[in-house]
């Protein structure tokens, strides 16, 4: 290593020669790009043809379902169990009088004495019935309940095991990380391979996608139990079992409930796309309203799903924030049994009297005004909309996509990815990027993957350009944040497909409604949130110091706040990227082409082999983007914060 003559300035934690590396690397890539300009896309015959063995396997499964022991004794029982529980549950839910669930939701929240919230939740639970969506809502609820129950039954023991056995814990942590990086679409593919089409694969996909938070937060909860209470448990002679059930699990319950809440939210998040493989319920209704171009109905369906999400979230929260028990204010013993008996009695009466359906049908009326409004908007601004859409597609997206797929040779792209990985972190990441790039090529979806990358990057850039200033603003002004937060919550609970449905109606089929607008709307919320958090986390002392030395507010912002919150801003970018990748399938449903189209085609045509290929490409893309941005965040952490 060469010795530097002058001491490096404070904050410089890499030798100066490193600064030349990116420049040299870039230069080499440009030279290579020019040299290889004649090379086209990925060679057509370089294909691992994964679809053949998978499709063969699928036929084999269909033939051997009844005689292979693995199916006979494992998959088929699981499948019948899920099917059976779903059917029973959804039948029973549909047989409840229209007010029953609202009463239960109300009583559950009222337990914590939050009367206002209890009333709101009760009314929200009535909403799906009031708009004539009761049966699909109950189907979705039943599917969610089955999936969440499985997540709890599987996830809590796994989480406990991970907390008690460190080897197991460190084994599954990277797995959970990967599971949370991969877009939900990917989980649909193995589910249909093993469980065909219907509620069962939908529930399985939901479980796979929503499982990590329960496991993670159970582990966190158990590990977070104050060690002294564990010591006390030991000292008073508890057995391992007693320790777990008397001391550790009870104290971990708020954390586990938080995990269950996140699991429910993730489950709701894939209700719509799970309908692609037969989940039915509200998701199917949403897909239908996309097909029939009924944005008003889509909006009502979205609202029903949001209502369901809020109800479930508030119920889960009521278990998390079990307010400090105060014996003075404790309910008398008779309250809980009385309330339960009263509700049961009302249910029996209602069922006997046949009060099953909500007495009013406002559904159509709710949707129509919105449809009229959208039709008016579409007709009035037809030219403007078309102008923006056409220019964006032709002059921005297609040009960029063309540059990547035709002007740049594939080895240059792979090398550039590897070089980026090397610069940001090291050889490990470089190797990962290069390997992923090659595997994506070998799936046979090189060009769609690049097109999707361009869409994802465009949507992410737009989302970041919106989210970062808003996030900085919210981080600086608590009042702005208070106004913004509920809006952000709402943005994220509405199923993304609903945005796509609305904008497809306005704009027509193109990559813009799903690939750009819905993605941006969906991704800005976490972007804003993370940015605001980062800005708020800047230590007051640094700001006071700068102010004392006479810095203007502008200098404080650009000299202190933004540099110090840079890692948070990069995390925001990371979130935005991952969300836009998860939106690829929505883009595919609304004319975005590329990988999204291919995956939708795989589901609708039941091409499982092709689905696997696309899913692999998608998963690798997500993991690459995730690791690169994470490395970026670490690389640009201020030196003081690296330890």
């Amino acid at each position: 290593m060469t010795t530097t003559i002058e001491a490096p300035p404070a904050g410089e934690h890499r030798p100066a020669r490193w600064r030349l590396v990116p420049a040299i690397g870039l230069g080499m890539l440009v030279v290579l790009g020019l040299a290889l300009s004649a090379v086209d896309g990925w060679p057509a015959n370089w294909n691992m043809n994964l679809r053949n063995p998978i499709d063969d396997f699928q036929s084999w499964i269909i033939d051997h379902k009844t005689d292979n022991p693995f199916w006979k004794f494992f998959f088929t029982p699981i499948s019948s169990f899920i099917e059976g529980s779903f059917n029973t549950l959804s039948d029973q839910l549909k047989l409840l009088p229209w007010y029953a669930l609202a009463l239960i939701a109300f009583a559950t929240i009222a337990r914590t004495r939050k009367w206002g919230s209890a009333v709101v939740v009760g009314l929200l639970m009535l909403f799906p019935g009031a708009v004539g969506l009761w049966n699909p809502t109950m189907e979705t609820l039943a599917l969610l309940m089955v999936a969440v129950a499985i997540c709890i039954v599987v996830g809590v023991p796994l989480g406990v095991l991970a907390a008690l056995n460190h080897r197991f814990g460190s084994l599954i942590r990277p797995l959970l990380d990967a599971m949370q990086t991969v877009p939900s679409t990917v989980y649909l593919v193995p589910s249909i391979l093993f469980f065909s089409i219907g509620r069962v694969p939908a529930a399985v996909a939901m479980v796979l996608f929503a499982l990590p938070p329960v496991v993670r937060l159970t582990t966190l909860g158990i590990n977070g139990v104050p060690p002294e209470t564990v010591d006390a448990g030991h000292v008073f002679g508890s057995s391992r079992r007693q320790l777990l059930f008397n001391v550790q699990l009870p104290q971990a319950i708020p954390s586990i409930a938080t995990g269950v809440n996140q699991t429910i939210n993730l489950g709701i998040g894939i209700v719509v796309i799970a309908a692609l493989i037969g989940a039915g319920g509200l998701g199917q209704e949403a897909l239908d309203s996309l097909r029939t171009r009924s944005p008003g109905r889509g909006l009502v369906i979205g609202a029903a799903l949001v209502a369901l999400a809020i109800v479930l979230d508030r119920i889960a929260r009521s278990f998390i924030e079990r307010t400090t028990p105060d014996p003075g204010a404790r309910q008398p013993r008779w309250v809980a049994p009385t309330v339960i008996i009263a509700i049961v009695a009302l249910v029996i009466v209602g069922r006997a009297a046949g009060w099953l359906d909500f007495p009013l049908h406002w559904g159509v009326k709710w949707a129509d005004p919105f449809d009229h409004f959208l039709t008016w908007a579409r007709d009035t601004f037809r030219h403007q909309i078309a102008w923006v859409n056409d220019h964006f597609v032709a002059d921005v997206y297609l040009r960029l996509a063309d540059f990547f797929t035709n002007a740049l040779a594939w080895p240059v792209i792979i090398l550039a990815g590897a070089a980026l990985g090397l610069w940001l972190k090291g050889w490990g990441l470089a190797g990962f990027c290069a390997t992923s790039g090659v595997i994506i090529g070998l799936t046979g979806f090189w060009t769609p993957a690049l097109q999707t990358t361009v869409q994802v990057l465009l949507a992410s850039i737009i989302a970041t350009l919106i989210a970062v200033p808003l996030g900085i603003w919210a981080g600086r002004r608590p009042r702005v944040e208070r106004v913004l937060l509920p809006v952000l919550d709402a943005l994220q609970t509405v199923p993304s497909l609903i945005y796509a449905i609305i904008f497809v109606y306005l704009i027509g089929v193109s990559m813009v409604p799903g690939g750009i607008i819905a993605s941006v709307l969906y991704a800005i919320a976490p972007g804003i949130r993370v940015t605001a958090l980062g800005i708020k986390a800047v230590p007051e002392s640094a700001i006071e110091a700068a102010t004392v030395f006479g810095a203007t507010p502008r200098q404080v912002m650009f000299g202190i706040r933004i540099p110090l919150s840079l890692p948070a801003l990069i995390v925001a970018l990371n979130q935005v990227l991952l969300i836009t990748v998860s939106m690829v399938i929505i883009a595919g449903l609304t004319g975005g082409g590329a990988l999204g189209y291919e995956v939708v085609d795989a589901f609708t045509g039941n091409h499982v082999g092709k689905g696997f290929e696309v899913a692999i490409a998608l998963a690798l893309m997500a993991m690459m983007l995730d690791r690169l941005t994470q490395a970026f965040a670490v690389r640009f952490q201020p030196p003081a914060a690296t330890r």
């Binding site: 002294e228 209470t229 010591d231 030991h234 000292v235 008073f236 002679g237 008397n246 009870p250 400090t324």
Partner: protein, 336 residues
Amino acid sequence: MIDVSHVWKVFGGGHPQRAIQMADQGHSRADIQAATGSTIGVRDVSFSVQRGETFVVMGLSGSGKSTLIRCMSRLIEPSGGSVGIDGVNLLDMNDEDLRTIRRTKMSMVFQHFGLFPHRRVIDNCAYGLEVQGIPKAERHARAAEMLATVGLTEWANHYPQQLSGGMQQRVGIARALVLDPEILYFDEPFSALDPLIRRDMQNELIALQARRPRTIVFITHDFAEALRLGNRIAIMKDGAIDQIGTPEEIVAHPATDYVREFTTDIPKTKVLTASAVMRPGQALGGRQVAATTKVAALIPLLFADAAPLSVIDDDGHVIGSVAREDISHLLEDEAR
């Protein structure tokens, strides 16, 4: 009652024996850490505690006190040595025997109370009985009795976090006492409390010991507390014991500079007795005082009358004498 013999505890590094070898060769804690990656938590500690004695382990934070008491209750496995309880080595016991002894013979009070936040005070108190499968009515009755002893009857149905720190630690003590253990371990039980409350609690502990003496191992970093409570005190530094002795022995004859540091700031006249400052031998006449009289009580006598005092033992024999000049250095120390 309790025999701690050559107990070692080495954290991390993977080769505890190597660390122990290095320590035996006289290497310091820092050297061993650098060479093996291991931290020496407890270094070759031996002592025994008599039945009914209050044995205090005192040392600065990080000196290994908690590690020692956790070895003695086998909350962690020592790397070497033995801990005898009535002649049986605790470290040889299987899980079943260990649980039995914990349910019947020994109990512990923690620095941050270690109460279960999800259980009411009464259920916290009854925990040791509950794990033994004692029926609810009986365990609640016994727990209520114990809560009455510590004056918390009306708080039985509250949750621990609703109580003040001092009250919480009373619950911790009641929870330990409910098993009527012969051995009680205290790990800095009063360190998290306000000074005034700390003093009350110390007095209550002294009263409790007077009513029914138990074998107590009491950890503290507060030398004054050690002097107040301990029949004997062990001073710990870097995992090893520097000195063991009665409060008076330690104050009168600190074995190392480290121990002397602690003794400089305490009012010695209130700790030392006539026997510690007297000149042994024949008396020169003058008033007689018992050997156990605190020096503070001698001062007025010495200044009332210029003559030296005669010191007599329990049997009334004269064993030495104390003159003004024998205590003058103590007074100077205190005046500083």
